[in-house]
């Protein structure tokens, strides 16, 4: 009887209905209001004066709650003579305000961020199926979300504590429980079946006229390999990777060159190994001299690096590293020479392959991306095309799809002249993971594509081959650099 003047009475159907209606309608009203305040086009959160909006909302909430609390508090006090603030009611009211405002927020976010969901229409053939399934799932889950979350907070409001009421002694209801087991099961079965067919279609057989492109991931970047005039990608192996052959293609001249380099390196390392004892002595002498003259105090930084070398040498770590490096290089040499014996493997198909730093595709043509990773796991992620596949060292993976929207078309629909498709890395792979991407361009016609491909240099052309070899003699390769570093580090040699 105490709260009856204030509470919405359980048996008053009309009031109940009104409350429900308001809760459901408020988000829409707020949205309409938002439209008036700020037209939705070119909407940006930055344009909003967030601080004042939040302050207003909070102030409103606080006022409502306090007013309510005092109302009830005063009344309670009058009747019972105790407890001014009634947290029971405050919590109940915050709950109902919370759910109304949050549902409003959710609708608001759907409206303004909805345009970014799935980045607009898909740019690939299978993407259309994908999107339709996505929206089915969205519809179903969103409905359940709104209803259950609303009920949760409504119950919180509606069934808040009342001394004069006793809860319903209600243990279970088999019929109800069977219903809410069966209904989700049916809906999920529907979703699973759709998911199953979509998934099978996406991952299914690749049609004959599909073009293969190798997509190669490394710390931290991507490269693509297109077949040359022979329409065939050459074989490859990670042992063949070198400064001039970043993808390790089975191509005679590059691999021979690598063999030469490796042999030289092994020889150098063996020389270092032979003189390791002297080198240790030399480091020791240098270290002791440094310390005895007090230089280690004057030049702490220099001393730190000297000490590290000294410790390595004395503890034998230096020699062990040499040994390991030699063994590793010899293994690589052995493996390469095994492959060299196989004339089918070195079939020359790779000689005219083109390694590119951009991916160019033709609209409505089926492609099969064949992924490789050089060092750690990466993931090729092309959200506009609904494509993602991990690139795993030692395990070839692939993803087949057909682009359906050119870059130019996408620029137009998005109203952004600068827009480009990218393939991002989406598997944590190290410090520069966040900036590991490659541009993907979809062109309208085969001709455009051919022009582009023609402008890309093949791995070797007889004429260029010699030139590039000469160039290489001058410039240091990565390996060369490492060796130089190692040599200068050796005290016996400098």
């Amino acid at each position: 009887m105490r709260f009856d003047t204030l509470r919405i009475r359980p048996n008053s159907f009309i009031k109940k209905a009104l409350l429900m209606l308001t809760t459901v309608l408020t988000p829409w009203i707020l949205m309409a209001a938002a439209d008036v305040v700020e037209p939705p086009k070119e909407f940006s959160l930055a344009n909003w004066d967030w601080v004042s909006i939040l302050t207003w909302v909070l102030a409103l909430l606080v006022i409502l709650v306090i007013a309510r609390a005092f109302d009830i508090g005063a009344l309670t006090e009058k009747i019972t003579g105790k407890s001014v603030m009634s947290w029971n009611n405050i919590n109940a009211w915050i709950a109902i305000i919370f759910i109304v405002l949050s549902l409003a927020g959710v609708f608001w976010e759907l409206k303004y961020h909805g345009q970014y969901v799935l980045l607009g229409d898909s740019s690939s053939l299978h993407g259309e199926t994908y999107d339709s399934m996505f929206y089915w799932t969205f519809g179903f889950t969103f409905f359940v979300f709104v209803v259950t979350e609303f009920l949760l907070f409504y119950f919180m409001f509606r069934y808040r504590y009342n001394e004069n009421r006793k809860a319903l002694y209600y243990f279970h209801n088999n019929k109800l429980e069977v219903i809410w087991t069966i209904v989700p099961t049916i809906v999920l079965t529907f979703l699973v079946l759709r998911g199953f067919t979509t998934w099978s279609k996406i991952t299914g057989e690749v049609s004959k006229d599909t073009q293969d492109i190798e997509v190669f991931a490394y710390q931290f970047g991507w490269k693509a390999r297109y077949a040359g005039d022979d329409q065939q990608l050459g074989n490859q192996n990670f042992n063949f990777i070198s400064g001039t052959n970043p993808l390790g293609v089975a191509e005679d001249s590059k691999v021979e060159e690598l063999i030469g380099d490796l042999k030289k390196e092994v020889a150098q390392l063996e020389a270092l190994q032979a003189s390791a004892e002297d080198s240790t002595k030399a480091w020791k002498a240098r270290h002791d001299r440094f310390v005895s003259t007090g230089l280690h105090i004057t030049y702490p930084e220099d001393y730190k690096s000297l000490k590290a070398k000294y410790t390595d040498a004395v503890s034998g770590a230096y020699e062990r590293t040499l040994e390991k490096d030699i063994k590793r290089k010899k293994t690589a040499l052995n493996r390469i020479s095994e492959y060299r014996k196989d004339k089918d493997f070195f079939n020359g198909a790779g000689d005219d392959d083109k390694v590119t730093t951009e991916i160019v595709l033709v609209k409505n043509k089926p492609y099969n991306f064949k992924f490789r990773a050089r060092d750690v796991i990466h993931s090729a992620y092309m959200p506009h095309f609904r494509v993602q596949m991990n690139c795993v060292p030692g395990m070839p993976t692939s993803f087949a799809f057909t682009p359906t929207m050119t870059t130019a078309e996408a620029r137009q629909t998005k109203g952004n002249k600068e827009f480009d498709y990218y393939l991002y890395c989406n598997k944590i792979c190290g410090a520069a993971h966040y900036n590991m991407k490659i541009k993907v361009t979809v062109v309208d016609s085969e001709a455009e594509y051919n022009t582009w491909l023609a402008s890309q240099a093949p791995l070797v052309t007889p004429a260029i081959a010699e030139e590039s070899q000469k160039e290489e003699k001058d410039s240091k390769t990565e390996m060369g650099e490492m060796e130089t570093a190692m040599l200068t580090n050796n005290p016996t040699l400098n």
């Binding site: 949050s102 996505f134 009421r165 002694y169 991952t203 991990n390 944590i428």
Partner: protein
């Protein structure tokens, strides 16, 4: 009051022994003390994890800003006040590891299993108090090891909390894969030992040490949840240990379990061939998926108990709740592949895992509906514990629904490793389980410390945390749907992601506010241990057995005989009784030893009151199958 009878019981078979400081507070074998040790260690770890997340959130919101205090705090990891990318990865990794394993596994399960299994079942202690003590100390060592890795010169492990090789296996692949990773593996190995010791103990206690009358179908849902959790842990953690040991071998002894065909910049081609990085993922997620339920189930158990108590209403569908826990436990072992749809795994396997995954959504849905129905026509007391439980239900629904997208292999192509996944698991696992933990703390604080926490602070703590958690995680769905990848150090280098900068700022601000709200909790928690109002015997008027023990902690829990249990734990608001609760340990003068089902037939409200007879049959069957008493 009901407990008077127990206190009056004069013959003390309980043994008095002198407790030194060390044996009482440090190497304690009393389950109640061990539970507090777990809780406080968990809270400390949680604060560390929280602060880490605030630091990397700063980076995401203001990537071009220089924060001088970061340099003061982190030294070379934040030169000029700008976070180093490697250290960013390290923070993300250690944050994830701490939250998943140290706070939500050990902190949650360790605290409440230890506290409640003996108290709610009527046992004097755990089956093996000594193993229990070992379990805590292994956990402690493990925590210290993990934290120490942050101070290593090359930085802590940085490959994400899942530490996928080859990244985590090759020292040259990133700095964090050096000593930091070694320490991570050592910490996890210690952690696994701890959780196995604990799990064995929990299971044997539940099976063997229940008091008279406490048949399994009278166990509170908390105990059921802890019981299944312990089984899951016992079966899945050893697999993670195996995975970790293989990884240790690959790192240090030249084996190739996970390594093949690798060329490293600055090193050259490695010798390893024949290994498979995907093998690690299978092993990891064979633990990893059950792990998410190891985290969630105790929180669900706590919630069941707290909601029923504070709704003054029997939990709706006790049997269904237990069956769905059981179903979830079983299914969680055969769905791990849903974390690997796009690893290049055979597409057919993908289909199988998709079907199994979506089946698991059914028991999850049943649980959510049952919570709702429990609230329906209840008489809700908004204690802070109750609010946090309701918060859990809300997160469980919001986050669980997105599982339906992710479980669908086809939809996962786009969503995998995006912010959508981050939103999903932070809601359904992170926030939900943390809220379960808070609910547990607020509810059983009087039992742990004999004093009360401040309710008003609790309300502020709840509402601020609840609202900010949604502000932080809800917008992430939209970012993920727009193809924003997770574990990016900075979003400004990709045109497309720039529209999210405002949102990133909003999230960070909300995170800071939410983090600040935890100070209210810390104050409330630590201050009231010493200064809180003295607790009453049964402050929440709850039915379960733990409220019959004396407020002051004693070794052996009950001064006299352990009480007998006469009925199920959820007899609230029985129409035939004056009071709205009916403790399990209170004999019924009029008709002792009779199940509520029989009595309620004569109660006035017969039509609405249902029976649980099917439930009893079901349990009898289970007991026969498992040979339980």
């Amino acid at each position: 009051m009901s407990t008077a009878a127990i206190h009056a019981d004069t013959h003390h078979d309980h043994h008095e022994h002198k407790e030194s400081f060390i044996s009482k507070y440090v190497f304690s074998m009393d389950h109640k003390m061990i539970s507090k040790q777990f809780l406080i260690t968990g809270i400390v770890m949680g604060m560390v994890g929280l602060i880490m997340s605030l630091i990397f959130r700063l980076q995401l919101a203001w990537p071009d800003e220089q924060f001088g205090f970061l340099e003061t705090l982190l030294g070379k990891w934040a030169v000029d006040g700008k976070l180093d990318p490697n250290f960013y990865m390290g923070l993300v990794t250690i944050h994830g590891t701490i939250m998943v394993f140290y706070v939500l596994t050990a902190g949650l399960s360790g605290t409440f299993s230890n506290l409640l299994i003996p108290l709610q079942l009527g046992a004097r202690d755990m089956a093996s108090p000594f193993m229990n003590m070992l379990s805590y100390w292994f956990f402690f060592l493990s925590s210290v090891t993990l934290l120490s890795s942050v101070f290593v010169e090359t930085g802590p492990a940085s490959g994400g909390w899942t530490v996928y090789p080859p990244l985590s296996a090759l020292e040259k692949a990133m700095p964090g894969s050096g000593l930091g990773m070694t320490l991570w593996l050592a910490a996890i190995a210690l952690f696994i030992v701890s959780s196995l010791l604990a799990g064995i103990n929990y299971i044997s206690t539940v099976l063997n040490m229940r008091t008279k009358g406490m048949s399994m179908n009278r166990m509170p849902l908390t105990i059921w949840a802890f019981f299944f959790t312990a089984i899951l842990g016992l079966l899945s953690f050893p697999v993670l240990l195996g995975a970790a040991i293989f990884l240790i071998f690959d790192r240090s002894f030249g084996t190739s379990f996970y390594l093949s065909d690798i060329y490293l910049e600055g090193v050259g081609a490695l010798e390893n061939i024949g290994g498979s990085p995907v093998l690690y993922q299978h092993l990891f997620w064979f633990l990893g998926h059950p792990e998410v339920y190891i985290i969630l189930m105790p929180a669900l158990g706590i919630t069941s108990e707290v909601i029923s108590t504070n709704a003054r209403k029997p939990i709706f569908g006790y049997t269904a709740m237990v069956i769905s826990l059981m179903g979830i436990s079983f299914l969680s072992f055969i769905v791990w592949g849903h974390h690997m749809f796009i690893t290049g795994m055979n597409p057919f396997l993908g289909s199988v895992f998709m079907i199994l995954t979506l089946i698991i959504a059914v028991p999850s849905a049943v649980k959510a509906f049952n919570y709702l129905t429990t609230l329906w026509k209840g008489n809700l007391r908004f204690n802070p514990a109750m609010l946090f439980s309701i918060g859990l239900v809300s997160f469980f629904i919001s986050g669980g629904l997105t599982g339906i997208y992710l479980g669908n292999a086809a939809l996962d192509i786009q969503l995998h490793d995006s912010y959508f996944v981050v939103a999903h698991f932070h809601l359904v696992m992170g926030s939900a389980a943390i809220f379960g933990m808070f609910a547990g703390i607020y509810h059983w604080y009087p039992k742990m410390f004999g004093r009360m926490m401040n309710k008003t602070l609790g309300y502020f703590h709840f509402w601020i945390t609840f609202i900010t958690a949604y502000l932080v995680f809800f917008p992430m769905h939209f970012m993920g749907l727009a193809g924003v990848p997770r574990r990016y150090y900075q979003f400004t280098l990709v045109e497309d992601f720039n529209v999210w900068m405002d949102v990133n700022k909003l999230i960070t601000v909300a995170a800071i506010v939410g983090g600040g709200a935890q100070l209210l909790f810390l104050y409330n928690f630590f201050y009231n241990i010493f200064k809180g109002k003295k607790a009453k015997q049964n402050p929440w008027q709850s039915n379960t057995l733990e409220w019959s023990t004396p407020v002051e902690r004693i070794h052996g829990n009950w001064p006299g005989e352990i009480p007998t249990v006469y009925r199920g734990p959820y007899e609230y608001s029985r129409p035939d009784r004056e009071e709205d609760f009916f403790p399990q340990y209170e004999p019924d003068e009029s008709a002792p030893e009779v199940l509520h089902t029989k009595e309620t037939k004569s109660a006035p409200d017969t039509k609405k009151v249902e029976e649980v007879e099917e439930g009893s049959v079901f349990f009898a069957a289970i007991k026969r199958v498992f040979g339980l008493s």
